[in-house]
Amino acid sequence: MNAQPPTNLRHILSRGLFWLLVLLIAAYTMLPFFYAISISFRTNAQVLVQARYLPEAPTLVNYQNLFSDRAFMNTMLNSAVVATVTVLLSLVVGSFAAYALGRVEFRGRMGVLYLVLAMTMFPQISVLSGLFRIVNDLGIYGSTLSLMFTYPHLHDAVHGLGPHQLLPRPAGRD
């Protein structure tokens, strides 16, 4: 790689440090996740007594309970349905706008971009009261329909075409 022949020791040292860094990053991002897997094989009582890196007597009881729970299966189904519908809706509606904003130079482009961006700036929590009112007025409170109706609004469709466009394109890209 380098023009001059590297001193051997320096090369080994820098490779070693690099791999140490890789290892550190992997540990940092993965360990909490592994710990979550680890405690999923322990009973509630065991977890509440003493923290352990590995389960003392691995058990599948949590998974048994989870998969025999009708409510859990329902939540999975709900998530799948809501996700599918909202993604499709956002995609269909959003792709038109994304094309117009991304490819066409026109009057009012910046205005639309700022409007879209501004809408993503409202904290979702504070839109709650307004959303609740509308969902209630429509009579769809408590249904997955209300989620499909409200979810796309501050999400993918809008988020995807927000802040990038306001900035000059990165140098080196055309």
Partner: protein, 636 residues
């Protein structure tokens, strides 16, 4: 699309064509007028607005006046107030069997007519900002021994909403504005069509197309909703009802379709004029934007504007008191800040007195004393609307004085401070960490693909779940793996209470958030790193630049726009931070978003909470505009 060569002269329209054009133009003008007409009709027939402009139709206070004729001759007739079922403020009415004696200092005598008593409690609309919300009612309550015990009670008036609030709550800002603007634009298109203007003709085609699509959507919605008798019902689907209500919009499509068909046939034949490329592009872009803007306005714009409107009122959930327009009172209560110098309390030796755990005891400031005095002089009705200045924090300065920050809502100001501190520190750490991760996974090594997947694990876990996971890991005793690990490594000797008020709660929260979002930062930066062409590095290498020099002179400048985008994304999210604060700290130490939620759900103060939301929005806006400006200036 075929271009009309500039300066083409149109051929003379035939008589039929002239009539057709007149008809199409009239249709457009009619549609424009319908928009105005609909708005006018909706406003004039709205109940809330009629009540606001003409006064309430039921008397007074959601309680009914009843004259009681006693059964025995020994007693005189008397008046009672009875709560009206579902009436406004009914809950505070005088209980049954209580005898009215006074209404706002006017004595109620048995010989008064029922109309006279009603007139006493029938109130006119209180002007905005008026504070006289209460009617004081004196009554006598019969005791067990037959005697009458005097008592008083305050009942809120049935103040009708003022016009502005009634209008805003029913129609909002965006929809009326949109109707007026679109109505005017379409009307103008109609008039311009008559001049054989080609630009107007093409715009008309776009308008007609989307109107037809809109009508189809309305028809489908009507068919579905009215067929079922509502969005969610258990009734069987009634096809007749559905078709019946889908028919009018479908019929309305017919004239539009005819007009649009004729116009598209005639547009290059009859109409004249030049059109610039920009103008064509603008029309093309706007015609693509219509569906997105419609969805945005209906689904996102409405709740947003409702939030803004509610923030100007004193609205409360599940309180039947009429909503009052309070202008910016919520905001002024949230943001009022005063700075004062305070002295510490001296102990016997003249040094500052301290509490057992070592913090200085301060004296009350003059403002706090004044406000406490004022509070004592207020009547009970006035006291409710009065929010006192309270201590937010006191910073010790030299020689026994301290700088005290006073605010009308110390919790909010603390939340504001917490959020900004959190954002600045967390986003900085995320950027550094994300940059390191991105540089590592961008370089060539075996297992890079695996590493890129591993790096995204924290980001793929939902924030709430990861917050709960960290809560388990950072439990305050030996059941927390984090404590165990640090003790095994010999870094701490005692289990730490990471999220306790006296513990390092802010650092803990930031650590949890950084773990979760640094990978996202890394992902964005990685995308930026990958578009930097390799030749640039080769050139830098030939010029003799070392690795470090290459990083600072090549990588960083070329990565700057990507960093700006990543910073905007993360700052936007951090300022709205909710999940980690809510899960890990509950409401003990709020961020702005959790305070907003707390006021809304626990406090039921819809108006006040909305004002918090709008303030978060403004803060985010300021940060974003700042970033965009900085990046632009640097680019130029």
């Amino acid at each position: 699309m075929t271009l009309v060569p500039p300066g083409t002269t149109r051929r003379r329209p035939t008589e039929q064509e002239a009539i057709a054009l007149e008809l199409v133009s009239a249709l457009l003008m009619f549609i424009g007028l319908v928009a105005f007409g609909y708005l006018f009709y909706a406003v004039t027939t709205n109940d809330d607005i009629r009540t606001a402009t003409q006064g309430p139709t039921i008397p007074g206070i959601g309680v009914e006046v009843v004259k009681i004729e006693p059964t025995s001759d020994a007693e005189q007739p008397y008046f009672e107030l009875r709560p009206v079922p579902n009436g406004p403020a009914a809950a505070s009415g005088v209980l049954r069997g209580d005898r009215l004696t006074l209404i706002d200092d006017t004595e109620i005598t048995p010989d008064m007519s029922i109309e006279q008593v009603r007139a006493l409690i029938a109130e006119e609309v209180t002007p905005p900002g008026g504070d006289d919300f209460v009617i004081n009612i004196g009554f006598a309550r019969p005791q067990a021994d037959g005697s009458l015990q005097p008592a008083t009670r305050s009942v809120p008036k049935n103040v009708a909403p003022v016009f502005i609030i009634a209008f805003l709550q029913n129609f909002g800002i965006v929809i009326p504005l949109l109707l007026i603007v679109l109505g005017a634009v379409i009307f103008r298109l109609g008039t311009r069509l008559r001049r054989y203007d080609i630009v107007a003709a093409r715009w008309s085609l776009v308008v007609l197309l989307w109107l037809m699509v809109g009508l189809v959507v309305v028809a489908i919605r009507n068919f579905w909703v009215d067929g079922k008798g509502g969005f969610i019902t258990d009734q069987p689907f009634n096809v007749g009802n559905g078709l019946g209500s889908a028919l009018p919009p479908l019929l309305a499509i017919i004239p539009l379709a005819i007009a649009s068909r004729w116009l598209s046939g005639a547009v290059n034949d009859l109409f004249v004029g030049d059109e610039t490329l920009t103008s064509r592009n603008t029309r093309f872009a706007w015609s693509l934007l219509v569906p997105t803007l419609a969805v945005l306005i209906l689904v996102a714009g409405q709740p947003l504007e409702q939030t803004f409107i509610t923030s100007l009122t004193d609205d409360e959930f599940s309180v039947s008191r009429p909503v009052q327009f309070v202008a910016f009172e919520n905001y002024s209560n949230l943001l009022s800040v005063q700075l004062v110098l305070v002295n510490c309390q001296r102990d016997d030796e003249g040094a500052c007195a301290r509490t057992p755990n070592g913090s200085i005891i301060w004296e009350r400031s003059s403002i706090e004393t004044e406000e406490a005095q004022r509070l004592r002089e207020l009547s009970s009705a006035e006291r409710r609307g009065f929010v006192r200045f309270q201590e937010v924090s006191t910073t010790p300065l030299a020689s026994g004085t301290g700088l005290r920050i006073l605010g009308r809502d110390p919790t909010f100001l603390n939340a504001l401070g917490n959020t900004i501190y959190f954002t600045v520190v967390a986003v900085t750490l995320e950027l550094l960490l994300g940059l390191i991760i991105a540089l590592v996974v961008n370089s060539n090594f075996r297992g890079r693909g695996l590493m890129r997947a591993a790096m995204l694990v924290p980001w793929s876990i939902p924030t709430v779940v990861s917050a709960v996971l960290w809560q388990t890991m950072m439990r305050p005793d030996q059941t927390g793996i984090f404590n165990r690990l640090l003790m095994d490594l010999g870094l701490i000797s005692q289990p730490q209470q990471w999220f306790a008020n006296t513990g390092p709660w802010m650092a803990s929260i930031i650590a949890v958030d950084v773990w979760k979002t640094a990978p996202f930062m890394a992902l964005l930066l990685l995308a930026g790193l990958q578009v930097i062409p390799g030749e640039v590095y080769e050139a830098a290498s030939v010029d003799g630049a070392g690795k470090l020099r290459q990083f600072f002179s090549v990588t960083l400048p070329l990565l700057r726009p990507t960093i700006a985008v990543a910073l905007i994304f993360r700052t936007l999210d951090s300022l709205r931070v909710f999940d980690v604060f809510q899960v890990l700290l509950d409401t003990r130490r709020p961020s702005m978003a959790t305070y907003n939620y707390d006021r809304l759900v626990a406090g039921r103060l819809a108006g006040y909470a909305s004002a918090v939301g709008v303030l978060i929005f403004i803060l985010i806006l300021v940060f974003t505009v700042m970033y965009v400006r900085i990046v632009r200036i640097e680019q130029e």
